[in-house]
């Protein structure tokens, strides 16, 4: 039954232009070294693959179907969970000796900590040449997407002329139109949300004075800070808030495709780029199957499918067609990717964190 289903899938997918690798079903993908057949063979012997990820199962169902069609002998299990849960679960299971084979999470700092603590297997993906330098570290951690951090706004309530196009614009707009934007500005709470903390600290590194001006202006405008993406997006759509700072692009893009009320801007002065980091677990029971999945994620086919779900491509050769550059208004934007590397570890230093949060609180309150 499973075989028949896989065969049907393979047929369906072969009919799609985007999924050419299906043609190589059992052979070595084009451009890979001939020795790759050993990895495939070893993976077939393993016969299974378990993935822990933060991306919603519904977002990757097609991606997984394509992977299954490519390697129908592998039984793939995919468990999605939030990033803190994923971390706790993985660390405990690794200690008990049995855990998932591939770890794929949007919490960049936690992923790098795991890699740094020795949880990742060293593996040079044949696709790594196609990745920009910032997206890989030590042949262990791979950035698999390049998603912009955007300003989101309610297109019904914010006049087109007012929409801020740069970070400086953002600060200027809300400090000048304090009353119009009172209570209307929103962002992640760096105190309570890991991603909020990460993006704001990156802002401070890139452009300290503008960032602190923005925080101060947000304080003056009585901005509201949230922990959950869903609640925040929904409140911008409804008009409870109208302008959101540092939103994760893929979630905003997804909603924007369904409901144009939620619009977005890539800030021109610089747009941060985050990436979902994946690595093969050092404790993997099926390391070869995990390698196949990593390579598939990074392959053109995998990247095209991710981009279809608004997780824009990290590959150099897909920038124009499926990367951030393909988004409207991205042409004149300077991209500032968050480096996949040990720099992220400083984010997790407790004293640095507490100090940063103190300064944020002070700046926010200074306004009143």
């Amino acid at each position: 039954m499973r075989l028949r289903l896989a065969a049907t899938l393979a047929l369906t997918i072969a009919a799609l232009p985007a999924a050419q690798p299906a043609a190589h079903a059992q052979g070595v993908p084009a451009g890979y070294p001939a020795t790759y057949s050993e990895v495939i063979e070893a993976a077939h012997k393993e016969g299974a693959l378990s993935i822990y990820a933060t991306a919603d199962a519904s977002e990757v169902s097609e991606l997984l179907a394509q992977f299954r069609a490519l390697y129908p002998k592998l039984k793939v299990e995919y468990a999605d969970q939030n990033s803190t849960e994923l971390y706790s679960r993985y660390v405990a299971e690794a200690a008990a000796g049995k855990t998932a084979d591939f770890i794929w999470s949007s919490a960049m700092d936690l992923q790098i900590k795991l890699v740094n603590d020795g949880y990742a297997l060293t593996y040079a993906s044949p696709e790594k040449g196609a990745l920009p330098d910032w997206a890989k570290w030590r042949d262990q951690a791979y950035g698999t997407t390049a998603e912009p951090i955007v300003f989101a706004y309610n297109s019904r309530l914010v006049p087109e002329a007012e929409v801020p196009r740069s970070h400086a614009d953002f600060a200027k707009l809300i400090s000048q139109k304090k009353d119009a934007y009172r209570g209307k500005v929103t962002s992640y709470d760096p105190e309570r949300s890991g991603v909020g903390f990460l993006y704001l600290t990156q802002d401070v590194q890139i452009s300290p004075s503008t960032t602190w001006d923005t925080v101060k202006a947000m304080g003056q405008a009585g901005a509201k800070f949230y922990t959950s993406t869903g609640a925040m997006i929904e409140r911008v759509v409804s008009g409870e808030h109208t302008l959101a700072y540092n939103m994760i692009g893929s979630y905003v893009l997804q909603r924007n495709r369904k409901d144009p009320t939620l619009a977005y801007v890539l800030p021109k002065d610089y747009t941060q780029v985050m990436s979902r980091i994946g690595f093969v677990s050092a404790k993997a029971k099926n390391p070869n199957a995990a390698k196949l999945f990593l390579d598939f994620l990074l392959s053109r086919a995998g990247q095209v499918e991710l981009a279809r779900k608004a997780m824009t491509s990290v590959r150099n050769d897909l920038q124009e067609s499926h990367g951030i550059t393909s988004l409207p208004g991205a042409a004149e934007v300077t991209l500032k990717p968050i480096r996949v590397g040990p720099e992220l570890l400083t984010q997790l230093d407790q004293i640095t964190r507490l100090r940063f949060i103190k300064q944020w609180q002070k700046t926010l309150a200074a306004a009143n």
């Binding site: 919603d56 309570r192 890991g194 997006i233």
Partner: protein, 556 residues
């Protein structure tokens, strides 16, 4: 039941409770995760949380205030609603009764979101009110609003406890009071409700505890004003320090356990004279609804007002939202109606499996749990021993762990106990975790009905020569049938929306609706969240309608 059997049941239960709880207490004295060899014994986590953390103090205080406030609202109201629906001739009571339970079925995150859609700053009702009076007369994100909403949405919990006890109360006592001239209000306050004091007290303690570990409502309603409660504090703690600090989280649990002790002590003192509450005696009594005369209409109005605020407003806002492509101030509803969210939902992987798993664990699993609770209760029933006192304290302890930590502790137990390991990724682990965390609730429901049984009934059984086990099976159990069914209903609804306890035990194949909802919420897919909640609600309503129809047939 024979003594060795009783002791065996008590020991097994105690082991079940102390496993995860002991692990958490041990963790609170370590410098790092217990499974990492580098962790050492220390009290630094206590020093940090108790003396250096202003946030902990704030969260603890907020939780205490919210818990006390919501208990003060939910308990009296729940008792009144139960009295009116079970004991009086209130118009339409058979129709209203199932509706009372609706707020319990909806995940609290989603219910809170329903309130945002209806009563938030640009909510549908708010905009309408603004059109009439010129401003919005309430602010949804205040602590007061949180307390009121938490209180009103927990009325059904109290209702379930109180109503199942009231159902086994004979009408003789009430009629005696009535014929000596007491009004319906006086009957309720001085006769019926005092008779079910054990149930009310249990409900009070448990609702207070639910308030202490409240998560969904403060997550959504407390977010904008950053109202911190213990459960959301745990997240903040993780974020402040960068990585999850299990030692600090464990200290928070220990602090909550210390709150349980005086509560259980008071409850035991108040219930010392249990025989005062015996209602099911050797002599049969008929049950007749109490005529409340002119009180009928204000009483009905009270219930309708409560239902309107707690059920109709948030639920209809939620259902409406699931059919809308966009919404907000100044957005017309008609042109934006759509079925797309449901279409999209149908394509969701594992959706059917999630629904089936949820129904399975709630119905079959719920029944098994009630069976287990009844067994433990029977083991303790009429046993004058220190063991029973110990159990009174123990059963509440698992609930002292906020869902997030309870889930983690259960996960650790399954992961690091070799015997349990193979069961970890099955529905069984999920069921066991749920059963344990809700132990206090189920236990109290069953024991409240047991307290109502007069000892003469069981003694009669012994006199005619039945063995202890036979008495339990043929006399006691049939007498508390109503209580057991009530427990099953409570456990069913609890399991339907439970999620956090199982979060680490879920694996591909054992998804439940709760977990699907949370992962969708995390990625901002509110469209799908509302659609899934609507489907969930429709399923539950069909279930309730079936129960109602069957119930009617039985009564006819």
């Amino acid at each position: 039941m024979s003594k060795p059997f009783r002791i065996a049941v008590v020991l097994a239960t105690a082991l079940m409770i102390l496993g995860p709880v002991g692990l958490v207490i041990y963790q609170s004295f370590l410098s790092g995760p217990f499974f990492q060899p580098s962790s050492t014994l220390t009290t630094q986590a206590y020093e940090f949380v108790l003396f250096e953390e202003d946030d902990f103090r704030e969260a603890f205080l907020n939780s205490a205030i919210i818990a006390a406030g919501m208990t003060a609202i939910a308990v009296p109201l729940g008792c009144i609603v139960a009295f009116l629906l079970v004991r009086t001739d209130l118009p339409g009571r058979r129709f209203i009764e199932p509706l009372v339970l609706v707020p319990m079925f909806i995940s609290s995150v989603v219910l809170a979101f329903g309130f945002v859609v209806a009563l938030g700053p640009v909510g549908i009702v708010s905009v309408w009110a603004k059109g009439i009076v010129g401003f919005i007369p309430w602010y949804l994100y205040s602590k007061t609003a949180l307390i009121v909403i938490a209180g009103l949405t927990h009325v059904p919990h109290v209702f379930l406890y109180a109503s199942s006890a009231l159902r086994s109360l004979g009408s003789d006592v009430e009629e005696a009071a009535r014929s000596s001239g007491a009004g319906p209000m006086r009957v309720a306050l001085t006769v019926s409700l005092p008779m079910i004091m054990p149930s009310i007290l249990y409900a009070t303690v448990l609702v207070f505890f639910l308030g202490f570990e409240l998560f969904g409502l403060p997550l959504v309603l407390g977010d904008p004003e950053r109202i911190l409660v213990l459960a959301t504090y745990l997240y903040k703690l993780t974020n402040k320090l960068g990585t999850p600090s299990y030692d600090l989280m464990a200290v928070v649990v220990v602090a909550i356990i210390f709150v349980t002790l005086p509560l259980v002590y008071t409850q035991r003192k108040l219930l010392a004279a249990a025989n005062r509450y015996v209602a099911v005696k050797g002599k049969a009594t008929a049950q007749k609804p109490l005529a409340i005369g002119a009180w009928r209409w204000p009483a009905a109005a009270l219930i309708v007002a409560w239902l309107g605020f707690t059920v109709v407003i948030p639920v209809s806002a939620l259902v409406l939202r699931s059919f809308l492509s966009t919404w907000g101030e100044g957005v017309a509803i008609w042109p934006n109606l759509t079925l797309n969210h449901f279409r999209e939902l149908m394509e969701y992987p594992n959706l059917v499996r999630g629904i089936v798993n949820t129904l399975l664990i709630a119905s079959v699993g719920g029944a098994l749990s009630v069976g287990f609770y009844a067994l433990v209760n029977l083991a303790l029933h009429r046993w004058r021993s220190r063991w029973t006192g110990l159990m009174d304290y123990l059963v509440l302890v698992p609930r002292a762990m906020p869902g997030l930590i309870a889930g983690l502790a259960m996960f650790w137990v399954f992961l690091f106990t070799p015997v349990l390991q193979p069961l970890r990724q099955t529905l069984f682990s999920l069921w066991l975790a749920y059963t344990l965390v809700w132990l206090a609730y189920g236990m109290r429901l069953v024991s409240a009905s047991l307290l109502q049984i007069g000892p003469e009934l069981e003694e009669a059984g012994r006199v005619v020569g039945a063995r202890p086990a036979q008495v339990s099976r043929d006399v006691t159990l049939p007498l508390i049938k109503a209580g057991l069914i009530g427990s099953w209903v409570l456990i069913f609804v609890t399991f339907v929306r439970e999620y956090s306890t199982g979060v680490y035990l879920l694996s591909p194949g054992t998804e439940v609706i709760g977990s699907l909802l949370v992962s969708l919420w995390g990625t901002g897919a509110v469209d799908l969240v509302t659609a899934l909640s609507t489907v969930n609600l429709a399923l539950i309503l069909v279930g309730l309608a079936l129960m109602y129809a069957l119930g009617n047939k039985r009564h006819a």
